[in-house]
Amino acid sequence: MMPLSEVYIGEQYRDSGWFGVFMTLLVAAFVLVNIRRARGGKDLYIRRIAGLNAIDEAIGRATEMGKPVLMVPGLSDTINAIAVQAVNIFAYVSRIAARFANPILLCCYNAAVYTYAQETIRDVYQSEGVADRYDPDSVRFVSDRQFAFAAGVSGLILREQTAATFFLGEFYAESLIFAETANSIGAIQVASSTETTQTPFFIAACDYVLIGDEFYAASAYLTRQPVLVGSLVGQDWSKLMIILMIVFGTILNTFEIQGKTTSERTKGVWSQIPERNKKQSDTFMSQLFKPQLEKVKVERPIDPNYVPEAEAAK
């Protein structure tokens, strides 16, 4: 039975489980510290991102051709950080489009994202002083079924002959349907998927692709707001920390794996074994990243009102 003092520790902190929690808190601290630095007037550098420079070019082209700009904030099942970030980028696109009186179309897969996008785009037109140019039907809910949505958006691309298309967010199998349909009518395309399996499809079919965290860097890059720039630098610090850990871990593992061992740790308990060559699971880094949890029993009082489900069903 487990000692009472250990009950306080919590399942997620047992063995080396605390390390994951510690790393998460460290990343959060990096982000918050850098937001504070940026707010304090510190000049922070962001490298050039070609895909984001192309946004102005794409809208300019659409304006010259007098055709709409189409935006899709991905197929998030609910409103999450990815959908919010996509709509944030589309707010920038819509602002430029509003200035040039260029029509826009924003197609939503999820009803929650639809309401958020509608509010955001309406605010953009109002803040630009051209509220009369805002067409409430330009932000629309299409369908919450994957391929019905794909068919609906593809139909819109073909009927409206959009000059520029932006596919940013969570995309799955339908990514290539969108990208190839837009390509077939010669639309300039900027795309990004947080799903790594879909990024190659976008690279194959689109003009510009934001890879990985470039998607999250977009709003900081476009607006240079201190909060966003600081957060981006915090992410870079975190990446640097991860790179250092990978380098340190690689060197450490290379040396450790050469040696021999006479002890083995199974489910958090060390035991003596006959001498053998060290395995991957014996290394320090492996044990740090893979908590080994021994099954424990904690004695607790039973609720007097408790009725087991089987009895309750009778």
């Binding site: 487990m2 306080y8 919590g10 399942e11 997620q12 047992r14 929690v21 998460t24 990343v27 982000v31 937001i35 950080a81 970030q85 944030n88 980028i89 707010a91 920038y92 939503c108 999820n110 009803a111 639809y114 309401t115 958020y116 605010d123 953009v124 039907d137 629309r140 809910f141 919450d144 079924r145 994957q146 391929f147 019905a148 199998a173 290539l176 349907i177 990208a179 190839e180 390509n183 790594t196 194959a204 079919a205 990985g212 965290d213 999250y216 860097a217 909060v227 957060s231 981006l232 992410q235 990446k239 991860i242 099954k295 904690v298 607790r300 009082p301 039973i302 408790y306 009725v307 489900e309």
Partner: protein
């Protein structure tokens, strides 16, 4: 969906009460009153106060998930057990609340779906009333939506009734069940499959453009893709590998040039590490974004 207050026999959590008990009704009435007060308060709140109110509710909602992640989780918890101390009391409450908090999201999504349907109706009814050239498609869409909703609900009601169990057998089906089956399985699923199959053709045309030898990078991509494709063709990889084995004559270095070994090396060394690198970036970006949203540092539409 899990009901907000589960009226079930094992009354072991804050969110569960016995069916028709006074505790259940008390909690329901308190929730209703608090809900109404909050709703009226929000309606009459001055415009300046709305931003801090939204920030407050965002913080409270996010704080639940942060607490759930950070607060010590109960170890070896069994049904019916009571907490040992204050730390466990909180952790039990957090764990029991999980289903309820998740169902809040589902309830909100349910309300918002109504807005989505309103958007669809508005766009397509306008098209029909103005005699737009594509009005026919709008009629088809609205008719399909209406029929699907009607047959879906009618079938659901039938299955709730006394005949419900009998309807598992196709011989007992009536007009409603055949109608629902035709619309859902016969039409919708087939059209979904048709759209999915279109991807195969798009892959071909996209691959043709991507794999043209235009630059050094494209040539490397083409070569790597070709090697991986060939390694997946059983006959080709068999002939290649057998020839390499014959040439190698046991030499371990030459054995590395077997097609399957080369393809595996490309996948393990380049593909996996690249994907992990991208995933690190995406994960960190999502964490930073979530933190900004939770603390209301991120304003809606801040991309502009």
């Amino acid at each position: 969906m899990i009901p907000l207050l589960q009226a079930q026999a094992p009354a072991t959590s804050f969110w569960s009460e016995a069916f028709n008990s006074s505790e259940l009704w008390t909690k329901l009435i308190i929730t209703l009153i608090v809900g109404l007060v909050v709703m009226v308060g929000l309606l009459y709140a001055p415009i300046r106060a709305r931003k801090p109110i939204v920030a407050f509710f965002t913080f409270i909602s996010g704080a639940y998930w942060v607490l759930l992640y950070l607060w010590p989780k109960p170890i070896d918890r069994q049904p019916g057990e009571m907490p040992l101390n204050t730390v466990e009391t909180v952790s039990f409450w957090l764990a029991d609340s999980n289903n309820v908090v998740v169902s809040f999201t589902q309830i909100l999504t349910g309300f918002l779906l109504g807005l989505g349907i309103f958007s669809l109706l508005k766009i397509h009814l306008t098209k029909i009333s103005k005699g737009h050239k594509d009005a026919f498609f709008s009629i088809v869409l609205l008719a399909s939506m209406g029929l699907m909703i009607w047959f879906g609900y009618a079938d659901w009601f039938d299955r709730l009734g006394e005949r419900g169990a009998m309807l598992d057998n196709r011989d007992n089906w009536g007009f409603t069940q055949y109608g629902r089956d035709f619309l859902f399985e016969g039409l919708l699923q087939q059209m979904d499959a048709a759209m999915f199959s279109v991807i195969a053709f798009y892959i071909l045309s996209a691959a043709y453009r991507a794999f043209r030898v235009r630059s050094v990078e494209a040539t490397i991509l083409l070569s790597a893709a070709l090697l991986v494709l060939l390694s997946l063709m059983g006959a080709v990889s068999f002939v290649w590998d057998e020839n390499v084995k014959a040439i190698a004559n046991g030499n371990p270095f030459i054995l590395n040039f077997q097609l399957t070994e080369v393809a595996q090396w490309i996948r393990n060394t380049f593909q996996t590490s690249s994907i992990r690198g991208i995933q690190f970036g995406v994960g960190l970006g999502a964490l930073a974004m979530g933190l900004r949203l939770w603390l209301s540092l991120e304003k809606p539409g801040s991309g502009s």
